[in-house]
């Protein structure tokens, strides 16, 4: 083989190694038999994997993260679907501005979003920790909801709604009968993307978490500051496999990558 034809596979291999390498190290570390987080792992055991399930605060923060990921994404979709519909079906003045503003949380660094929310909304209005986190996660997921749902709406012709109306349906009925079923894939994709984004979100949650109320990633950071055992690696591996499983299933059943 010439040097040229070696170059591409080699680059590919390096990039893949760079992307997956750290993950493999974490997975290996989580099966370690030693007492501290280390690589290469010392021996092999499942004790850290099992320990994850016994840590009380992990359970609470896992619940919190699930609540935010599911509830926040659902809320974002309930705002995002009508918004996307309006943006794609009506030629509204300022539609582009709305699109840009809605997309802002994707572009603006999370630290800034978190700080801004804390400084200008949470503190002045005395918002509780849980509602604040909920609002923040909804806002963070909203851009994904709007983008993904808009993409599938743009691919759907609008005359089928008129056809439904002429067959006796109301406008709203037409939306539920012929629009929703045809963008279901997009909505599910938006949900999964939103769920994963919310679940893995660190910087914004960092600002808004408070005594007793934490999301899982924040709790993991706090845990690591006190205890340096491989259980954090074990938990990370579990979460990573969960995410991979979800995305894999989504791709398999919905053709997820068509929408993102």
């Amino acid at each position: 083989m010439s040097a040229r034809s070696l170059f591409i596979p080699l680059t590919l291999f390096l990039v893949l190694g760079f992307l997956i390498g750290p993950f493999l190290i974490i997975v290996a570390a989580s099966f370690s038999g030693g007492e501290t987080l280390a690589f290469p792992p010392q021996g092999f055991s499942l004790r850290w994997i099992l320990k994850v399930f016994t840590v009380e605060s992990f359970r609470a923060s896992f619940g919190m993260s699930m609540f935010l990921a599911i509830g926040g994404t659902a809320a974002a979709l309930m705002l995002g679907i009508p918004a996307s519909y309006a943006l794609s079906r009506y030629k509204l003045p300022g539609a582009e501005i709305v699109r840009t503003v809605v997309s802002a949380p994707i572009i603006v660094p999370g630290i800034i979003v978190g700080l801004a929310l804390l400084r200008y909304i949470v503190v002045p209005f005395q918002v509780g920790i849980t509602p604040a986190l909920f609002l923040a996660h909804t806002a963070l997921v909203l851009p994904y909801a709007v983008r993904v749902v808009s993409a599938s709406l743009d691919n759907l012709r609008s005359d089928i709604e008129e056809a439904a109306v002429l067959l006796g349906s109301s406008r709203l009925g037409a939306f539920f009968r012929v629009v929703m079923p045809n963008i279901r894939g997009g909505i599910l994709s938006a949900f999964i993307l939103g769920f994963v984004t919310s679940f893995n979100q660190v910087p914004v949650s960092l600002f808004l978490s408070g005594p007793g109320v934490r999301t899982l990633p924040i709790d993991m950071i706090a845990y690591m500051e006190i205890v340096f055992d491989p259980s954090v690696a074990a938990l990370s591996s579990l979460l990573a496999f969960l995410s991979i499983g979800i995305v894999f299933a989504a791709e398999r059943f919905l053709g997820f990558s068509r929408y993102v």
Partner: protein, 341 residues
């Protein structure tokens, strides 16, 4: 067929924002009539149909149907069917479910529903395609599903927006017969839009020719084809030699010219190429172009009053390019035009 209009558009004005697309349109249509809306692109055919269906708000004027003013009745309560040019089938539903959609909304269920859907599908020859999705059908089949979907609703009026324009020539002819058959069998009042004059002539009981949001002429296919009343309609249906008349003379690029026969009183005269007499007559022209069209031959003549198109039977001896011929535009054969635009 009673004479009172079943559907009537009265002084209908339709606009998109400030741009008026259809102005002051009056159109009475009898029950069971098959009317064609014919006209060039952008003349307001789709706009008119959408207003009848209730998809476009009326700016001023009225739409009356079956004795009631439906101008402000919402689209889903009008009992007006529309077959879209794009078919607009529901992609997530099977052919069967597409046809059942409106019937279910009417509250039909069970065997009554099933029988109706099946007979609808049978009447368009698609009973064996019931379980397919629209994406798995050809254009012509999708078209027929769209037709069945509207027809099973037993609409008072069925509107079809360029129903045949997406089909190839053979299917077009097939669907043309199909439409005519369905219309005769059910007696539904039908309005269809077309660009194609041949289609309008073949199908319609009456043709409405539109131009710039106004009606240019209404008449039977024979009227429209043989007796256009304006230069626009004449041009549209294939009169290729059209001249304005002034003081009883033909106005041409080289002045006023006397015609053979009595002086016409119309505003203009129009001749089909076939109506031009070639080889005899008071005028002379030079052959500039010739084309063979099977059983006829067409000549483009250069004459003192501009280009003239003439058509003669192919069995006649051919004239070579550049030859000098005498010809006549017989006034008694011409279509007299009352409006010259």
């Amino acid at each position: 067929m009673s004479d009172a209009p079943y559907l009537s558009l009265e002084k209908l004005t339709l606009a998109y924002g400030d741009t008026v697309a259809v102005a002051n349109l009056d159109l009475p249509i009898r029950k069971g009539e098959l009317v064609a809306l014919l006209g060039p692109s952008g003349c307001g055919k789709t706009t008119t149909m959408r207003a009848i269906a209730g998809l476009l708000p009326v700016k001023s004027g009225h739409v009356r149907l079956d004795g009631a003013d439906i101008t402000r009745v919402p689209a889903n309560k009008r009992a007006v069917g529309l077959v879209f040019q794009s078919y607009a089938l529901f992609p997530h539903l099977s052919v069967y479910e597409n046809v059942a959609f409106g019937l279910k909304l009417k509250g039909m269920r069970g065997t009554g529903l099933d029988a109706k859907v099946r007979s609808g599908l049978t009447s368009v020859g698609l009973s064996s395609f019931a379980n397919r999705k629209p994406a798995e059908l050809s254009g012509g089949q999708q078209q027929r599903v769209a037709l069945a979907r509207s027809m099973v609703m037993e609409p008072k009026v069925l509107l079809l927006d360029e129903p045949l324009s997406n089909l190839d020539a053979r299917l077009r002819l097939e669907m043309r017969t199909e439409l005519q058959r369905v219309q005769k069998e059910t007696g539904v009042t039908m309005i269809f839009v077309t660009h194609d004059q041949a289609e309008a002539l073949a199908l319609a009981d009456r043709i409405v020719v539109m131009k710039n949001g106004k009606i240019e002429q209404i008449g039977s296919p024979e009227d429209i084809y043989n007796r256009p009343t304006s230069s626009f309609v004449a041009d549209f249906v294939g009169f290729e030699n059209i001249f304005p008349i002034e003081q009883g003379k033909m106005k041409t690029s080289s002045g006023l010219i006397d015609l053979s026969g009595p002086a016409p009183s119309a505003a203009g005269l129009a001749w089909r190429p076939r109506m031009v007499t070639l080889g005899s007559g008071p005028f002379r022209g030079t052959v500039r172009g010739t084309s063979f069209a099977g059983d006829s031959r067409e000549y483009l003549l250069d004459t003192p009053f501009g280009p003239i198109k003439a058509e003669v039977e192919a069995s006649q001896p051919a004239h070579a390019l550049g030859s000098d011929l005498s010809f006549d535009l017989p006034a008694e054969k011409a279509a007299p035009l009352s409006r010259f635009a």
